[in-house]
Amino acid sequence: MSKQPDMIISRHDTDRGTPRMYVSGFVASIVLTLTAYLLVVNHALSRRILIGAVVALALTQFLVQVVFFLHLGRETKPRWKLAVFLFMTMVVLILVFGSLWIMTNLNYRMTPAQINTYMNNQAGF
């Protein structure tokens, strides 16, 4: 009888991790951070592969921390935490890559002098 409330609460409470999760998350993060750092400091790879490797290591660490520290994916249905997380990821990707896309395009199509002329011709600038 005394065990029962804990069992039921653990079904509702999805924010608890286990010591093992925290330790594996921590060790993985340290290894990933040091690998990325040493690769950059020692110029171990050619420039292109180095950039790819560093970005891949960061994304791996992002997933490791979200799973092991924020305990995403441990909730039962309906998975609202996951839904908000995925929507956030989508907005972030649109915001960052959309900005870069537009600004690179602008950079490609207009010289600084053209931009100045354009802005001077617009009322209010």
Partner: protein, 205 residues
């Protein structure tokens, strides 16, 4: 009332409390996700402006990577100790909670100290946020993260005081859970600052 009826009533109340708490924590989760969008805006600004140095030195000449690695390891370890504190909170070990949060707090202070030293050094060598678009976006992005850390540290100090005085009450454990989510989230934002600003900056992308 019979003994089973009392026990069943107590069980109902415990379940209701657990459900209410998990709703509160979900609300905080939604806040954290919107804060990610704020940081996405600052990252996008940095990505667009990071080559606009206005004749000044680029990031590869300004940043000291060993210093940044020390910051990263301090914050990473603090995220881990924060997790240990939460585990102790669920097991109702008050002294362990206070100890692990104290360690987290000190590591957070070390991080903040290293960051402010870097900012002061940049400012003193004539590379303040007024210098160029690159440095404006750099200080805004990294400074906003530092501001979040400062808020987190103040919150942590208040929570340690509350736990020390009132113990691990239901409300306190709920707030500690939210605080730990906030702290892990700041660590995750830092991974991207470490990679995009410092490591890719050193490569000179």
């Amino acid at each position: 009332m019979s003994e089973t009826a009392v026990a069943s009533q107590r069980l109902d109340r415990t379940i209701a409390h657990a459900e209410a708490d998990s709703k509160n924590i979900f609300g905080f989760w939604v806040y954290i996700m919107t804060d990610c969008v704020l940081f996405a805006g600052l990252f996008a600004t940095y990505a667009v402006l990071h080559n606009n140095t206005f004749g000044g030195p680029p990031g590869s000449q300004l940043f000291s990577l060993p210093n940044v690695l020390a910051e990263t390891l301090a914050l990473l370890t603090s995220s881990f100790t924060c997790g240990l504190a939460i585990l102790s909170a669920h097991r109702k070990h008050k002294n362990k909670v206070l100890f692990w949060f104290a360690v987290t707090f000190v590591l957070g202070l070390v991080f903040l100290g290293l960051e402010l030293t870097e900012f002061r050094h940049l400012d003193q060598t004539g590379n303040s946020w007024r210098r160029s678009g690159f440095l404006s976006s750099f200080f805004t992005l990294v400074g906003t993260h530092g501001l979040h850390i400062t808020v987190g540290l103040s919150w942590m100090a208040i929570m340690m005081l509350r736990v020390w005085r009132a113990g691990l009450t239901r409300a306190n454990v709920r707030k500690l859970t939210m605080l730990s989510l906030f702290w892990h989230f700041l660590d995750i934002i830092w991974i991207f600052i470490f990679t995009i600003v410092y490591l890719l900056g050193a490569i000179g992308i």
